[in-house]
Symmetry: C2
Subunit: 398 residues, 2 copies
């Protein structure tokens, strides 16, 4: 369990992700905040929120600007309360959740807000995510032109060589996540994509085609964390945070020991499992970082959902599909729901909030009790795993 006091989630909401030219950064934050407040079963006086954490890469990633906690405090009129701003690449939102949870666990605050937000579509392509991934910090000496698709493509070709994984298996992940996303009103892409379409899409960086890549996206998400002992003031049906693990690994390709696994995922997951007192087999569903289809496939293996090298078999068996053994990315994932970087990790908790409360409608995973979120920043450089459940302590049946 988390050290200190148990921590609950008593509210979670988000705006539909997408290409939101009609909404400013501030409007997205206000929208997610209002959705979050509206999700609190018994209602919540805004003054009960004692502090906040903002997860956003705006500034470093998007514009060369200084971003403070005031970027959150201003649109939601949160002054003079404390706001910490976290930036940790694609783990940004999940790390905001983690640090906020620690403050509640420590007894510093009883009720806190976490917001993740990113405006990514309002920039010229020279400032796009694709361009940014070639200027990752400390990467100046790396070969120019190295972008995310070709960095992750290296993992795809290595995995194909080592284990016989084929482009068809990656296409099945695109099909799965687009199917899930089509069922999710919060999803950027609400349309089915077939394996055939995915395989026929233009190649971006071999073996990854356009439909193996997640989109750049605008969006925001928000959750309210509370000490478990006050959670019943807000909800008869909160969910609980069981554990959190963060791990680091070298950014630079020449320093990777293995191109068929992301070591930091296993390190972070093991830390989170230990804190939660569970095993991988206890997880009922997961939201994982499918920035590319191959990333999701490798992540199943690294999280222990299936054996290393057996991802191809697991997707063939339907394991990660809705109705399967352990549904993954029922929200549509980064692939279909979208990937507004700072918002992603927070939005994953929104999906678990709905699933673990049995409110996910057509996407509902039957009997979902324990869920996991997973984010990866850089090329497996920072990985964060958070674990949540529907009961105050994990009921694993073991």
């Amino acid at each position: 369990m988390m050290g200190g006091r148990p921590v609950a989630v008593v509210g979670a909401g988000m705006i539909p992700f997408g290409e939101l030219f009609e909404q400013s950064y501030e409007e997205m934050i206000v929208g997610a905040y209002r959705e979050c407040l509206g999700s609190v079963d018994k209602g919540i006086d805004e003054d009960r929120l004692e502090a906040a954490w903002l997860g956003t890469c705006a500034g470093g990633l998007i514009r060369q600007e200084i971003v403070t906690g005031a970027a959150l405090a201003e649109p939601i009129r949160f002054f003079p309360r404390p706001v910490t701003r976290i930036e940790n690449a694609c783990c940004t939102g999940s790390d905001a959740v983690r640090n906020a949870a620690f403050a509640v666990a420590a007894g510093i605050y009883d009720v806190v807000l976490v917001v993740g937000a990113e405006k990514m579509r309002d920039v010229p392509s020279r400032d796009s995510l694709i361009r940014q991934t070639s200027v990752l910090f400390h990467e100046w000496w790396a070969p120019r032109g190295a972008t995310a698709p070709n960095r992750f493509g290296q993992f795809a070709t290595a995995h194909m060589e080592a284990f016989g994984t084929e482009r068809e298996h990656m296409a099945m992940i695109a099909e799965k996540n687009h199917h899930h996303g089509a069922l999710n009103p919060h999803s950027f892409f609400r349309r089915e994509v077939s394996c055939e379409q995915a395989l026929a899409a233009p190649i971006i960086s071999w073996p990854l085609g356009l439909l193996d890549c997640c989109p750049t996206t605008d969006g925001a998400a928000a959750i309210v964390l509370a000490s478990a002992d006050v959670a019943d003031q807000f909800s008869d049906n909160p969910i609980y945070m069981y554990g959190s693990g963060l791990a680091t690994d070298p950014l630079i390709s020449p320093w990777k020991r293995d191109f068929t696994a992301f070591e930091a995922t296993t390190t972070a997951a093991n830390a989170a499992y230990a804190m939660a007192g569970i095993e991988a087999s206890d997880v009922d569903l997961a939201e994982v970082h499918d920035c590319f289809t191959i990333t999701e496939l490798i992540t199943w293996e690294d999280l222990g959902f299936c054996e290393k090298g057996k991802g191809k078999d697991w997707i063939e068996q339907g394991g990660p599909k809705l109705g399967g053994e352990k549904p993954v990315n029922t929200s549509g994932g980064l692939k279909a729901k979208g990937h507004p970087i700072g918002a992603t990790g927070v939005s994953q908790v929104v999906e678990l909030w709905e699933q673990l409360r049995g409110e996910a409608g057509e996407r509902q995973v039957e009997g979902a009790r324990i869920g996991l979120t997973h984010n990866m920043g850089g090329i497996g450089t920072v990985v964060l795993v958070n674990i949540f459940g529907s009961t105050p302590t994990p009921e694993t049946g073991r």
Copy 2:
């Protein structure tokens, strides 16, 4: 007291701040880390450090790049351990200390590392701090040309008009902090500046002259925080963290209610005093955010070190000078020691570490038991106050 478990500082070190063209960002981090490890009385096995927080504005502030926790993990070979990266304008370093302390207080980790680092001199002037302050996030609609000296200059003229503060009082602060800095081997400027010199310096933005402004600086600092119950494994003479307060206030000048005070300083200080169970009068010495001399003068008043409007009298009486009632910025402050943004808040703890342990040499404040650090980001937009002391709980004598 901090919620959860009591938190101690068991090591603190920094490299001398300055114009460090000969050191890379990574070399500065390694230097501060080594100084910090070397300061641990009984030595420390590096493997005891379970997690880290990196405070840096690099990326958003300096280069348009993504910065992750790996920016710290790489140079000190910290892989695969967790590193959170915090950015909160000039509160960045202090907020890294705050979040790290919460994680220890929560019982998540027993021993953690906090590093603050900034490389600010290796950029063309178009990317300088002066330029950056005119592109603070959400400031795009503010008048172009608004820079830190003229934003803080507004507070100076308002304070002069309201309370009769004169340029001479600001010059006395420059003289004081340069005198302190001349005694500090970690200081960027180790030379005296007289009131006459400060008054004769070229005006940057009335009434602030060149010697009213802190320099842009390269530097890094590091501390080790530990649960108080394991602190004796590392030191017979640790210092303790009593409290922390963070507050926000609108960035935009038209939304300020008062130009003679920074409201967020009072809010943050009151939160920190309450958590620590102390009053302003219990503070023996403080490191405060003298980005401009007027900022320090107003901060004394906002922290409760003297009455509002009486800062001019307090400096005339020598209150904040070494040997005075409550010495402020014995390190030299941002003004003389320098202001590498992400490092500043961490380096303030290094000064308190030396002072509260009685190891500050010529700068020693006699009988120092309780010390405070204060950082301000933006124009009073985010303010963070951390409080430390030489005994496990505050001995205020009340």
